[in-house]
Subunit: 241 residues, 2 copies
DNA sequence: CAGGTGGTTCGACTAGAATCGAACCATGAG
DNA sequence: CTCATGGTTCGATTCTAGTCGAACCACCTG
């Protein structure tokens, strides 16, 4: 009867309020404890433990013990990718009652997707990088060009160190709100981290929203424009804050 | 509490045996009647009617009335895409008991994904097309090159007619078994149709498997090889490297 | 050591969902 | 018109899965 892999198990797992809430919370890329998760999901500790067990079984999340805490996180970028795909579809399926809450616009503008930048800003930065040939789409996958390497280094990111890590260096990820791609992988992760280091943007507490300061957004674009700014040196940029 | 779109509804919908079976069956791209679906899902007519109602509500499938029959099909390529993504994840999550049934190898080799070719053959054909510059990955999306147009026309596909249709002309689609991309969109659809027209491959009854004749597979590759097929100049193919 | 907090296990309760039998409504064939 | 067939609706049944209360274990702190 059933050909192919067993979709049902995974889908059913996600198709529960509490668990979906957990997974969404973990989309922030943060590692959270069981009680924190219980809190955001709005259930008791016992219940969350039950759910976390199931998610672990299925390999959707992983744990790391640290003292008497257990930190849970998504098992990998694949999972985050699936969740974003689902959101992209759900946003249509919702149809009638689409309550665009107050946080929603901010969420569309810029948010964290697992560990990299997503939303309007995420895709426009990514597409800009393609246009200006910092990144290049190659049959085998996305590639960092030589000038891209220079750009990232000047931005204060050690691309060589990243490349030697085991995780996928750079790849694209589908954005649910924009329905276009943004940058993911080690490079995407490093980019966002650096942006936060420079104080250009901050994460909103308990949310996936990322708020750019007006200044920060301007500086980012300045950094990307090839003519207007021969890449601002990292130190110089950092001075601002 | 919950930010972003409501994943739960969609996921829960897929997370049921009968409905997942329905969706999988519709991945074949065929339009099927309610009783056919009831049959493949292994439930009675009443039950399938119930499930189809839910899937319709959520906009995952659509109906078309024809006489006293109602033909159901997937609502669009997005849905197919989501399902493939899910399969890609499930294949890992299954872990221990992965019963690779007898049909499985055939399914990995070549299968239909909504309406285009997937599996080993699907991705290698697609990647070959990129290498030989029939298709080109462009920041805005996938593009058919001029020489690609010629190639498709010689293959008996009227690309201009396709381009004027409303649906997305050509795009890539992630392959769950290969974890790489294959060709989708109107162009991908036309390609598969033409291959079947030529008798190079046939669909297995009641399954997503596509069986190529030894002859057919050979002819397809001959068609793609740059030296034997004039449209692609060796020069342009070499440009990539 | 005792006390407090983070997490899990067990058992029982409950709500919701899937299922089917049976009756019902349409459409097409003869 | 009558009969057969494709589908839906309704009601009743069954069962699974989420939930919590309570007890329990593990670890850290004082």
């Amino acid at each position: 009867m059933s050909e192919g892999p067993n979709i049902v198990r995974v889908a059913a797992l996600i198709g529960d309020n509490a668990r979906a809430e957990v997974l969404s919370a973990l989309m922030s890329g943060r590692a959270l404890t069981a009680t924190e998760l219980a809190d955001t999901a709005g259930v008791t500790k016992q219940t969350i433990s039950f759910h976390l067990g199931k998610l672990l079984d299925a390999g959707l999340i992983t744990v790391e013990q640290q003292g008497r805490h257990r930190y849970f996180r998504l098992a990998g970028p694949d999972i985050a990718n699936l969740l974003e795909t689902l959101m992209g579809l759900a946003v249509h399926s919702e149809g009638s009652r689409l309550f665009t809450g107050p946080r929603d616009p901010a969420l569309r503008k810029a948010r964290i997707c697992y560990d990299h930048l997503a939303g309007e800003l995420g895709v426009s930065v990514y597409e800009h990088m393609l246009r200006t040939n910092i990144l290049h789409q190659h049959p085998g996958g996305l590639q960092l060009t030589e000038q891209g390497r220079v750009w990232f280094n000047q931005f204060g990111i050690d691309t060589d160190a990243l490349a030697s890590s085991k995780r996928s260096f750079c790849r694209e990820c589908l954005d649910w709100s924009e329905r276009r791609h943004h940058l993911a992988g080690a490079l995407g992760s490093a980019l966002l981290t650096r942006i936060q280091e420079l104080g250009w943007a901050k994460r909103e507490k308990n949310s996936r929203v990322i708020v750019f300061s007006a200044q920060g957004e301007k500086l980012l674009w300045a950094m990307l424009e090839p003519q207007s700014a021969p890449p601002v040196s990292a130190q110089q940029a950092a001075v601002i804050f």
